[in-house]
Symmetry: C2
Subunit: 193 residues, 2 copies
DNA sequence: CCGTTTCTTGAATAATCATTCAAGTATTAT
DNA sequence: ATAATACTTGAATGATTATTCAAGAAACGG
């Protein structure tokens, strides 16, 4: 008889950045009420509990990242050109001192590994989904003749994912962008050469 | 007039694994008393507080890892053979389901980024030190003629470090060893080729 | 316009946490 | 042996935490 007053997407996005800022454990309910503008009761009504809010935020993160992926790999340019732009964008993400220096998935994965099975499963599925997306992009590049077929696209995708994980961790110790860009360029070379 | 009754190294090593198990934030003082066998008062007497225990554990970790590094790069074999063994050992570390799936440095780095300046600084210095060690090893390989001098040893070391970071994160989602070994092999190839 | 349903509010609750401290115990120097 | 000195013990403390719930406010159906 009455609709919720808050914008679910906005709430989830602010929860996302709050979780990325401090990590799940150190983000207090008070932090979350401040970040989302929601009162404790509303959060518990809408998402069950803090953990439910994290799961909902992870789902929203997946949606947002998938949309971004589609934008980068629209098929308008050469696949390898699109991939280069995608990597450069990740470097920019790492450089910008915005709260969310890390990706929510890897941040939560590092924190929750072997502690919460359902969260771990959700994250692992999302990451596997992303990796598969990259594998398909690379396979497309191979059928288009942009990329050698000597190495399996799944293998290349795994190596790419590993490199991006590493790049994000590296960024924590090296705020300067130059080095990160150099590493991303090297990674791109090793994939495409 | 009386010496401490506990073995400092043993205490720090058990604290290390406790922190790696649950992360710093979720490791309670109760967990630490259980892990170390020390009572709260003793911990506070010896290390000031929980944070002090972490800093001491990080120092011990650095000592232990440096010793391990020296063991792997003793100069008895070809540098590249030693490097390969070093990487294979990391893969084994990731596979073994022991508590410490991650390295304490990267685990703490992910958790504490931009929250505790001194901890962050300590970790960053340790990681930089490790990277420098690898750079020197690679430079030695170059002077010995085992490795092309086309790429700068510092550059190669950064890429290697990035790869190892990524490998560790990747391990969280892929407990199976086969894939990890394949990735490590590829990383070795990209460095040495 | 009224009654019912649903959402919102925020103070109260209960648990957990890091930390302290005073009493107890062992060791050493004399 | 004894006093002085240090280390150990673990219950008490106070702060912080996630969570609940009863009262209040808003929206809709009739």
């Amino acid at each position: 008889m009455r609709n919720a007053e808050f914008d679910r997407e906005k709430v989830l996005r602010s929860a996302m950045t709050a979780f990325m800022d401090k990590g799940y454990g150190k983000t207090s309910m008070q932090d979350l009420t401040k970040a989302t503008g929601l009162h404790p009761g509303s959060i518990y009504c809408a998402f069950d509990n803090k953990r439910g809010l994290l799961l909902a935020a992870l789902a929203q993160y997946k949606t947002d990242r998938s949309a971004e992926f589609q934008r980068f790999f629209s098929g308008e340019k050469l696949v390898l050109v699109e991939l280069k732009a995608y990597l450069d964008n990740i470097v920019q993400e790492c450089i910008s001192c915005e709260a969310a220096k890390a990706c929510l998935l890897t941040k939560a994965l590092n924190e929750m590994a072997q502690q919460d099975e359902e969260v771990q499963k959700t994250i692992t599925e999302n990451l596997a989904n992303w990796q598969q997306g990259l594998a398909e992009v690379l396979a497309l590049a191979q059928t288009k003749g942009e990329l050698s077929t000597k190495r399996d696209s799944q293998h290349l995708a795994r190596f790419l994912v590993m490199g991006i994980y590493g790049l994000r961790t590296f960024a924590h110790t090296h705020p300067k962008g130059e080095t990160l860009q150099e590493l991303a360029d090297q990674l791109f070379l090793d994939i495409s050469a």
